[in-house]
Symmetry: C2
Subunit: 190 residues, 2 copies
Protein backbone atom coordinates (compact mmCIF):
# COMPACT_ATOMS: atom_id res chain seq x y z
CA UNK A 1 0.00 0.00 0.00
CA UNK A 2 1.37 3.45 -0.82
CA UNK A 3 2.21 5.95 1.87
CA UNK A 4 -0.76 8.23 1.20
CA UNK A 5 -3.17 5.35 1.61
CA UNK A 6 -1.39 4.31 4.77
CA UNK A 7 -1.73 7.80 6.20
CA UNK A 8 -5.41 8.13 5.34
CA UNK A 9 -6.07 4.76 6.89
CA UNK A 10 -4.20 5.68 10.05
CA UNK A 11 -6.00 9.01 10.30
CA UNK A 12 -9.39 7.32 9.91
CA UNK A 13 -8.53 4.89 12.67
CA UNK A 14 -7.35 7.58 15.02
CA UNK A 15 -10.20 10.04 14.38
CA UNK A 16 -12.71 7.25 14.88
CA UNK A 17 -11.12 6.05 18.09
CA UNK A 18 -10.14 9.33 19.73
CA UNK A 19 -12.04 12.05 17.87
CA UNK A 20 -10.62 15.08 16.11
CA UNK A 21 -9.06 17.03 18.93
CA UNK A 22 -7.48 14.13 20.75
CA UNK A 23 -5.86 12.89 17.56
CA UNK A 24 -2.35 14.29 17.18
CA UNK A 25 -0.40 14.39 13.98
CA UNK A 26 2.47 12.66 15.76
CA UNK A 27 0.12 9.84 16.58
CA UNK A 28 -1.15 9.48 13.03
CA UNK A 29 2.47 9.43 11.84
CA UNK A 30 3.29 6.70 14.31
CA UNK A 31 0.30 4.55 13.35
CA UNK A 32 1.08 5.03 9.68
CA UNK A 33 4.76 4.31 10.27
CA UNK A 34 5.90 7.47 8.58
CA UNK A 35 7.70 10.59 9.75
CA UNK A 36 5.52 13.53 10.70
CA UNK A 37 6.82 15.65 7.84
CA UNK A 38 5.68 13.05 5.31
CA UNK A 39 2.05 13.70 6.16
CA UNK A 40 2.51 17.31 5.11
CA UNK A 41 3.74 16.18 1.72
CA UNK A 42 0.22 14.95 1.03
CA UNK A 43 -2.05 17.09 3.19
CA UNK A 44 -1.74 20.81 3.85
CA UNK A 45 -2.79 20.59 7.51
CA UNK A 46 -4.70 18.60 10.10
CA UNK A 47 -8.04 20.02 9.04
CA UNK A 48 -7.55 19.04 5.43
CA UNK A 49 -6.50 15.55 6.44
CA UNK A 50 -9.69 15.38 8.45
CA UNK A 51 -11.74 16.60 5.53
CA UNK A 52 -10.16 13.98 3.29
CA UNK A 53 -11.10 11.26 5.75
CA UNK A 54 -14.67 12.49 5.87
CA UNK A 55 -14.98 12.88 2.10
CA UNK A 56 -13.63 9.37 1.69
CA UNK A 57 -16.22 8.03 4.10
CA UNK A 58 -19.09 9.86 2.44
CA UNK A 59 -17.99 8.61 -0.96
CA UNK A 60 -17.81 5.10 0.34
CA UNK A 61 -21.31 5.37 1.75
CA UNK A 62 -22.72 6.81 -1.45
CA UNK A 63 -20.98 4.13 -3.47
CA UNK A 64 -22.19 1.40 -1.15
CA UNK A 65 -25.72 2.73 -1.36
CA UNK A 66 -25.69 3.20 -5.11
CA UNK A 67 -24.60 -0.39 -5.55
CA UNK A 68 -27.77 -1.60 -3.87
CA UNK A 69 -30.05 0.54 -5.99
CA UNK A 70 -31.89 -1.25 -8.73
CA UNK A 71 -33.37 1.29 -11.14
CA UNK A 72 -35.98 -1.26 -12.21
CA UNK A 73 -37.20 -1.83 -8.68
CA UNK A 74 -39.70 0.33 -6.79
CA UNK A 75 -38.71 3.32 -4.69
CA UNK A 76 -40.01 1.47 -1.68
CA UNK A 77 -37.86 -1.53 -2.26
CA UNK A 78 -34.78 0.56 -2.91
CA UNK A 79 -35.33 2.71 0.15
CA UNK A 80 -35.66 -0.40 2.22
CA UNK A 81 -32.51 -2.06 0.95
CA UNK A 82 -30.52 1.18 1.11
CA UNK A 83 -31.46 1.65 4.73
CA UNK A 84 -30.59 -1.97 5.39
CA UNK A 85 -27.20 -1.48 3.78
CA UNK A 86 -26.55 1.60 5.88
CA UNK A 87 -27.44 -0.26 9.03
CA UNK A 88 -25.25 -3.18 8.05
CA UNK A 89 -22.23 -0.87 8.06
CA UNK A 90 -23.15 0.78 11.28
CA UNK A 91 -19.70 0.33 12.78
CA UNK A 92 -18.30 2.32 9.92
CA UNK A 93 -20.57 5.16 11.00
CA UNK A 94 -18.92 5.10 14.38
CA UNK A 95 -16.80 7.99 13.14
CA UNK A 96 -19.99 10.00 12.80
CA UNK A 97 -21.10 8.96 16.25
CA UNK A 98 -17.70 9.90 17.65
CA UNK A 99 -17.82 13.28 15.95
CA UNK A 100 -21.34 13.99 17.16
CA UNK A 101 -20.25 13.14 20.66
CA UNK A 102 -17.19 15.37 20.38
CA UNK A 103 -19.24 18.21 18.98
CA UNK A 104 -21.60 17.99 21.91
CA UNK A 105 -18.82 17.78 24.48
CA UNK A 106 -16.08 20.07 23.17
CA UNK A 107 -17.65 22.22 20.45
CA UNK A 108 -14.58 22.00 18.25
CA UNK A 109 -15.33 24.32 15.33
CA UNK A 110 -13.65 22.09 12.76
CA UNK A 111 -15.81 19.19 13.89
CA UNK A 112 -18.98 21.24 13.86
CA UNK A 113 -18.26 22.42 10.35
CA UNK A 114 -17.55 18.91 9.15
CA UNK A 115 -20.72 17.54 10.70
CA UNK A 116 -22.78 20.20 8.95
CA UNK A 117 -21.07 19.28 5.71
CA UNK A 118 -21.84 15.60 6.21
CA UNK A 119 -25.44 16.35 7.11
CA UNK A 120 -25.91 18.60 4.13
CA UNK A 121 -24.30 16.05 1.84
CA UNK A 122 -26.48 13.19 3.02
CA UNK A 123 -29.68 15.21 3.05
CA UNK A 124 -29.10 16.46 -0.45
CA UNK A 125 -28.42 12.90 -1.63
CA UNK A 126 -31.58 11.60 -0.01
CA UNK A 127 -33.55 14.57 -1.34
CA UNK A 128 -32.43 13.69 -4.82
CA UNK A 129 -33.65 10.13 -4.46
CA UNK A 130 -36.98 11.29 -3.11
CA UNK A 131 -37.46 13.82 -5.88
CA UNK A 132 -36.77 10.97 -8.25
CA UNK A 133 -39.44 8.83 -6.63
CA UNK A 134 -41.97 11.64 -6.89
CA UNK A 135 -41.20 12.24 -10.56
CA UNK A 136 -41.64 8.58 -11.28
CA UNK A 137 -45.02 8.82 -9.57
CA UNK A 138 -44.03 6.17 -7.08
CA UNK A 139 -44.45 8.22 -3.95
CA UNK A 140 -46.77 10.98 -2.86
CA UNK A 141 -46.06 14.59 -3.62
CA UNK A 142 -44.15 15.68 -0.53
CA UNK A 143 -41.42 18.22 0.23
CA UNK A 144 -38.20 16.29 -0.50
CA UNK A 145 -35.98 18.41 1.78
CA UNK A 146 -38.32 18.04 4.70
CA UNK A 147 -38.67 14.30 4.27
CA UNK A 148 -34.91 13.92 3.83
CA UNK A 149 -34.32 15.93 7.00
CA UNK A 150 -36.81 13.75 8.84
CA UNK A 151 -35.18 10.56 7.61
CA UNK A 152 -31.68 11.72 8.45
CA UNK A 153 -32.53 12.91 11.94
CA UNK A 154 -34.54 9.78 12.65
CA UNK A 155 -31.70 7.56 11.53
CA UNK A 156 -29.18 9.45 13.70
CA UNK A 157 -31.59 9.35 16.63
CA UNK A 158 -31.66 5.56 16.59
CA UNK A 159 -27.97 5.06 15.84
CA UNK A 160 -26.64 7.64 18.29
CA UNK A 161 -29.29 8.83 20.77
CA UNK A 162 -30.91 5.50 21.51
CA UNK A 163 -27.88 4.27 23.43
CA UNK A 164 -27.95 7.30 25.67
CA UNK A 165 -31.22 6.24 27.28
CA UNK A 166 -31.18 2.49 26.71
CA UNK A 167 -28.67 -0.07 27.85
CA UNK A 168 -28.32 -2.03 24.65
CA UNK A 169 -28.37 -0.68 21.09
CA UNK A 170 -31.58 -1.22 19.17
CA UNK A 171 -31.58 -4.12 16.72
CA UNK A 172 -31.14 -3.39 13.04
CA UNK A 173 -34.32 -5.17 12.01
CA UNK A 174 -36.30 -3.25 14.63
CA UNK A 175 -35.23 0.04 13.05
CA UNK A 176 -35.87 -1.35 9.61
CA UNK A 177 -39.38 -2.50 10.31
CA UNK A 178 -40.17 0.70 12.19
CA UNK A 179 -39.13 2.85 9.23
CA UNK A 180 -40.99 0.57 6.82
CA UNK A 181 -44.16 0.69 8.89
CA UNK A 182 -44.15 4.41 9.46
CA UNK A 183 -42.29 6.82 7.22
CA UNK A 184 -41.83 4.63 4.15
CA UNK A 185 -45.34 3.26 4.20
CA UNK A 186 -46.72 6.75 4.68
CA UNK A 187 -44.88 7.95 1.60
CA UNK A 188 -46.14 5.17 -0.63
CA UNK A 189 -48.86 5.93 -3.13
CA UNK A 190 -51.89 3.83 -2.45
Amino acid sequence: MDRQQEILQAATTSFTQFGYKATTIDQVAKIANVGKGTIYNFYANKEQLFEEVVIHLIQEMKHETNKTIDTKASFMYNAHTSLMKMLEFRERHLLFAKLIEEEKALRTPAVRQMLLKIEQEIISYVSMRIRNGIEKGEIINCNPEHVAFLLFKSYIAFIVDWQLTHEEPIKEDAILSLFSQTIFNGLAKK
Copy 2:
Protein backbone atom coordinates in the same frame (compact mmCIF):
# COMPACT_ATOMS: atom_id res chain seq x y z
CA MET B 1 -50.75 35.64 44.13
CA ASP B 2 -49.06 33.83 47.01
CA ARG B 3 -45.31 33.86 47.50
CA GLN B 4 -44.75 30.29 46.35
CA GLN B 5 -46.52 30.95 43.06
CA GLU B 6 -44.52 34.14 42.65
CA ILE B 7 -41.26 32.26 43.16
CA LEU B 8 -42.15 29.44 40.75
CA GLN B 9 -43.15 32.01 38.16
CA ALA B 10 -39.91 33.92 38.58
CA ALA B 11 -37.86 30.75 38.41
CA THR B 12 -39.58 29.67 35.20
CA THR B 13 -38.87 33.05 33.64
CA SER B 14 -35.24 33.01 34.63
CA PHE B 15 -34.52 29.40 33.67
CA THR B 16 -36.15 29.96 30.31
CA GLN B 17 -34.25 33.15 29.64
CA PHE B 18 -30.81 32.30 31.05
CA GLY B 19 -30.76 28.53 31.48
CA TYR B 20 -30.09 26.57 34.64
CA LYS B 21 -26.52 27.46 35.41
CA ALA B 22 -26.74 31.16 34.66
CA THR B 23 -29.79 31.52 36.86
CA THR B 24 -28.81 32.52 40.38
CA ILE B 25 -31.01 32.18 43.42
CA ASP B 26 -30.39 35.85 44.16
CA GLN B 27 -31.80 36.69 40.78
CA VAL B 28 -34.91 34.57 41.24
CA ALA B 29 -35.43 36.23 44.61
CA LYS B 30 -35.13 39.65 43.04
CA ILE B 31 -37.57 38.86 40.22
CA ALA B 32 -40.02 37.35 42.69
CA ASN B 33 -39.59 40.29 45.05
CA VAL B 34 -38.77 38.12 48.02
CA GLY B 35 -35.71 37.64 50.19
CA LYS B 36 -33.37 34.83 49.24
CA GLY B 37 -34.10 32.92 52.43
CA THR B 38 -37.80 32.82 51.60
CA ILE B 39 -37.17 30.60 48.60
CA TYR B 40 -35.66 28.00 50.91
CA ASN B 41 -38.84 27.94 52.94
CA PHE B 42 -40.56 26.36 49.94
CA TYR B 43 -37.81 24.55 48.04
CA ALA B 44 -34.96 22.55 49.52
CA ASN B 45 -32.40 23.72 46.96
CA LYS B 46 -31.87 25.05 43.47
CA GLU B 47 -32.16 21.65 41.88
CA GLN B 48 -35.53 20.97 43.48
CA LEU B 49 -36.81 24.36 42.42
CA PHE B 50 -35.72 23.49 38.91
CA GLU B 51 -37.46 20.13 39.10
CA GLU B 52 -40.63 21.83 40.28
CA VAL B 53 -40.55 24.18 37.30
CA VAL B 54 -40.08 21.27 34.91
CA ILE B 55 -42.80 19.15 36.51
CA HIS B 56 -45.15 22.09 36.29
CA LEU B 57 -44.39 22.51 32.61
CA ILE B 58 -44.86 18.83 31.82
CA GLN B 59 -48.17 18.82 33.66
CA GLU B 60 -49.29 21.84 31.74
CA MET B 61 -48.40 20.18 28.46
CA LYS B 62 -50.15 16.95 29.36
CA HIS B 63 -53.19 18.88 30.48
CA GLU B 64 -53.19 20.97 27.33
CA THR B 65 -52.91 17.87 25.20
CA ASN B 66 -55.55 15.92 27.08
CA LYS B 67 -57.99 18.77 26.58
CA THR B 68 -57.72 18.39 22.80
CA ILE B 69 -58.31 14.65 22.87
CA ASP B 70 -61.75 13.50 21.86
CA THR B 71 -62.24 9.87 22.85
CA LYS B 72 -64.90 9.50 20.20
CA ALA B 73 -62.64 10.67 17.40
CA SER B 74 -60.09 8.53 15.52
CA PHE B 75 -56.50 8.08 16.68
CA MET B 76 -55.41 9.83 13.52
CA TYR B 77 -57.49 12.89 14.16
CA ASN B 78 -56.39 13.10 17.78
CA ALA B 79 -52.73 12.66 16.94
CA HIS B 80 -53.05 15.44 14.41
CA THR B 81 -54.74 17.91 16.73
CA SER B 82 -52.42 17.04 19.62
CA LEU B 83 -49.39 17.74 17.49
CA MET B 84 -51.02 20.96 16.30
CA LYS B 85 -51.63 21.97 19.90
CA MET B 86 -48.02 21.27 20.81
CA LEU B 87 -46.81 23.34 17.91
CA GLU B 88 -49.13 26.15 18.83
CA PHE B 89 -47.45 26.46 22.19
CA ARG B 90 -44.00 26.27 20.78
CA GLU B 91 -42.76 29.31 22.64
CA ARG B 92 -43.64 27.60 25.88
CA HIS B 93 -41.26 24.84 24.87
CA LEU B 94 -38.52 27.41 24.69
CA LEU B 95 -37.45 26.23 28.11
CA PHE B 96 -36.83 22.81 26.59
CA ALA B 97 -34.92 24.36 23.72
CA LYS B 98 -32.87 26.41 26.17
CA LEU B 99 -32.10 23.35 28.25
CA ILE B 100 -31.12 21.29 25.22
CA GLU B 101 -28.81 24.08 24.16
CA GLU B 102 -27.33 24.32 27.64
CA GLU B 103 -26.85 20.58 27.84
CA LYS B 104 -24.97 20.62 24.56
CA ALA B 105 -22.81 23.59 25.53
CA LEU B 106 -22.12 23.13 29.23
CA ARG B 107 -23.04 19.55 30.10
CA THR B 108 -24.56 20.55 33.41
CA PRO B 109 -25.43 17.25 35.10
CA ALA B 110 -28.64 18.60 36.64
CA VAL B 111 -29.80 19.71 33.22
CA ARG B 112 -28.90 16.43 31.60
CA GLN B 113 -30.80 14.53 34.22
CA MET B 114 -33.85 16.74 33.85
CA LEU B 115 -33.86 16.42 30.07
CA LEU B 116 -33.78 12.66 30.35
CA LYS B 117 -36.69 12.86 32.77
CA ILE B 118 -38.67 15.04 30.38
CA GLU B 119 -37.89 12.76 27.47
CA GLN B 120 -38.86 9.68 29.40
CA GLU B 121 -42.06 11.35 30.58
CA ILE B 122 -43.14 12.42 27.13
CA ILE B 123 -42.22 9.16 25.46
CA SER B 124 -44.13 7.15 28.03
CA TYR B 125 -47.15 9.39 27.55
CA VAL B 126 -47.05 9.03 23.78
CA SER B 127 -46.45 5.29 24.11
CA MET B 128 -49.59 5.03 26.16
CA ARG B 129 -51.64 6.80 23.52
CA ILE B 130 -50.21 4.57 20.80
CA ARG B 131 -50.88 1.40 22.75
CA ASN B 132 -54.41 2.67 23.09
CA GLY B 133 -54.73 3.16 19.35
CA ILE B 134 -53.48 -0.36 18.71
CA GLU B 135 -55.91 -1.87 21.20
CA LYS B 136 -58.77 -0.05 19.59
CA GLY B 137 -57.65 -1.52 16.27
CA GLU B 138 -57.20 1.93 14.80
CA ILE B 139 -53.52 1.66 13.97
CA ILE B 140 -51.23 -1.11 12.87
CA ASN B 141 -49.54 -3.39 15.33
CA CYS B 142 -46.26 -1.58 15.93
CA ASN B 143 -43.83 -1.24 18.84
CA PRO B 144 -45.25 1.67 20.86
CA GLU B 145 -41.93 2.62 22.49
CA HIS B 146 -40.11 2.72 19.18
CA VAL B 147 -42.78 4.79 17.50
CA ALA B 148 -42.96 7.15 20.47
CA PHE B 149 -39.18 7.57 20.40
CA LEU B 150 -39.33 8.27 16.68
CA LEU B 151 -42.10 10.85 17.12
CA PHE B 152 -40.34 12.59 19.99
CA LYS B 153 -36.97 12.79 18.29
CA SER B 154 -38.54 13.96 15.05
CA TYR B 155 -40.48 16.67 16.81
CA ILE B 156 -37.37 17.89 18.63
CA ALA B 157 -35.38 17.77 15.39
CA PHE B 158 -37.73 20.21 13.72
CA ILE B 159 -38.25 22.46 16.72
CA VAL B 160 -34.60 22.64 17.79
CA ASP B 161 -32.19 21.33 15.14
CA TRP B 162 -33.82 22.84 12.08
CA GLN B 163 -32.78 26.35 13.07
CA LEU B 164 -29.14 25.28 13.31
CA THR B 165 -28.89 24.67 9.58
CA HIS B 166 -31.63 26.91 8.24
CA GLU B 167 -32.05 30.63 8.60
CA GLU B 168 -35.72 30.76 9.44
CA PRO B 169 -37.70 28.31 11.58
CA ILE B 170 -39.86 25.85 9.71
CA LYS B 171 -43.55 26.71 9.53
CA GLU B 172 -45.95 24.89 11.83
CA ASP B 173 -48.16 23.67 9.04
CA ALA B 174 -45.16 22.32 7.15
CA ILE B 175 -44.26 20.13 10.12
CA LEU B 176 -47.87 19.16 10.54
CA SER B 177 -48.41 18.06 6.97
CA LEU B 178 -45.05 16.29 6.91
CA PHE B 179 -45.94 14.21 9.96
CA SER B 180 -49.41 13.53 8.58
CA GLN B 181 -48.04 12.42 5.23
CA THR B 182 -45.32 10.20 6.62
CA ILE B 183 -45.40 8.76 10.11
CA PHE B 184 -49.11 9.15 10.87
CA ASN B 185 -50.28 7.94 7.50
CA GLY B 186 -47.91 5.00 7.71
CA LEU B 187 -49.39 4.00 11.05
CA ALA B 188 -52.98 4.08 9.84
CA LYS B 189 -54.74 0.81 9.16
CA LYS B 190 -55.80 0.62 5.56
